[in-house]
């Protein structure tokens, strides 16, 4: 019983301390010229990231398909590795999107 009360109290304290993470000081807007260049370079960066992500995922997919064709018995293992590889490669393109999302205010 005492353990449950302690756990409940700890949970309430932790939840309350989670709230300050949501409070942020508003950032100063960059001048218009700089904001324009931020927008242009972010566009090119996202395009390059998506292009290379596309090539890498295509290579992973084609290797997985060849492996499946040669050895259908290994299908679960190959499928698992394929999904994992695709997600990890996708996340590289998404890191660039994070920059676009956070910094482009044009």
């Amino acid at each position: 019983m005492k353990k449950a009360v302690l756990l409940a109290g700890l949970t309430l304290v932790l939840f309350t301390f989670a709230l300050p993470a949501a409070a942020q000081a508003p950032e100063a807007k960059p001048p218009d010229q700089v904001a324009m260049w931020i927008a242009i370079t972010s566009g090119f960066a996202m395009a390059i990231a998506s292009a290379f992500c596309g090539i890498a995922q295509a290579k992973a997919c084609s290797a997985a398909c060849e492996g499946l064709a040669r050895n259908p018995g290994a299908a679960p293992a190959i499928r698992f590795s394929l999904i994992l590889a695709l997600v990890l490669i996708e996340s590289l393109a998404l890191y660039v999107f994070a920059i676009v999302f956070l910094k482009v205010t044009y």
């Binding site: 300050p20 997600v87 999302f101």
Partner: protein, 293 residues
């Protein structure tokens, strides 16, 4: 990004806002709107956590080995299934013999992320994981846990030796690389989950909005269509008679077909990201507790 206020945020602020505001002011945090000190994503996150705890406590009291009900059989698929992607399967295969002791954290974080990701499918809710703090919190929990598991398995000196690499001669080079790569794990877990949820929610909501806009426009087109098709000469009277009515009823709904694909994409991304957020902690724990032969 500005969030639309959700009903769950309003409800939680009504109940707990007055309690929480003095606690926040005592720490020094001043919310934008004193009537709503609790942000929507935090309110939704608490709602999910409380609901999940109540549900699983109730469910645990109904577990039975002799007479499993349908829900128990479904839940057992989460642990061990024929695709070998259940929690027990992953822990046994990747961590090894004593893998199952890590089920508590891996399962909890994985299920929490799954529920947070998929709640935005219900109209009126916003995914807590679409705000950067929630994936960060989950990633921190995983980070602290796998380091703790490694320390407990090997002791402080033994765990520190992991960072020095295989050969003592390279230790000076390996240490900063290993430290940075471990910090990058935290960053990558957070950003991957957060940006995936932002992007798929954005796509889904944008196309749904476009579809609804097109549907209201189609109402006008619908009138035109009815007047045009009513002029088709009745060469085969019984077949063409009602066609203007049929076309008129179906055509406003046509713009809603395209958003279906994006809703499907959002469902797929939500489940896949929850799976990856379960798999990667298992891999990190395996790396931390691995025994060198």
């Amino acid at each position: 990004m500005e969030q639309h206020p959700t009903w769950i945020g309003d409800l939680v602020n009504q109940w707990l806002g007055a309690l929480v505001l003095p606690l926040l002011e005592a720490i020094g945090v001043h919310p934008h709107d004193p009537a709503r000190p609790i942000p929507d994503h935090i309110a939704t996150e608490w709602f999910i956590a409380v609901l999940a705890v109540i549900f699983f406590l109730w469910f645990r009291s109904r577990l039975s080995a002799d007479n499993p009900g349908g829900l128990q059989l479904c839940a057992e698929q989460l642990l061990s299934n024929s695709f070998r992607v259940g929690l027990y399967d992953l822990l046994d295969e990747i961590v090894g013999p004593h893998g199952r002791q890590h089920l508590a954290l891996v399962g909890s974080v994985g299920l929490f992320v799954l529920f947070c990701n998929s709640i935005s499918l219900i109209p009126g809710f916003v995914s807590p994981t679409a705000h950067h703090t929630v994936p960060l919190g989950s990633a921190l929990a995983v980070f602290v846990y796998y380091n703790y598991a490694g320390l407990r398995a090997h002791g402080a000196f033994g765990y520190g030796k992991h960072f020095l690499g295989p050969v003592p001669a390279l230790a000076v080079l390996m240490l900063p690389i290993e430290l940075i790569s471990h910090a990058a794990r935290l960053l990558s877990l957070t950003v991957r989950l957060w940006v995936n949820m932002v992007v798929s929610e954005l796509l889904y909501l944008t196309f749904l909005g476009l579809g609804l806009f097109a549907m209201t426009t189609a109402w006008e087109v619908n009138k035109l269509l009815r007047s045009v098709t009513a002029m088709i000469p009745s060469v085969i009277p019984s077949f063409f008679d009602g066609i203007h009515v049929v076309l008129g009823s179906v055509s406003p709904l046509a713009p809603l077909v395209i958003p279906l694909f994006f809703v499907g994409l959002h469902i797929f991304v939500a489940f896949l990201q929850a799976f990856v957020f379960t798999l990667l902690p298992v891999v990190y724990v395996a790396g931390a507790v691995a025994e060198e032969h």
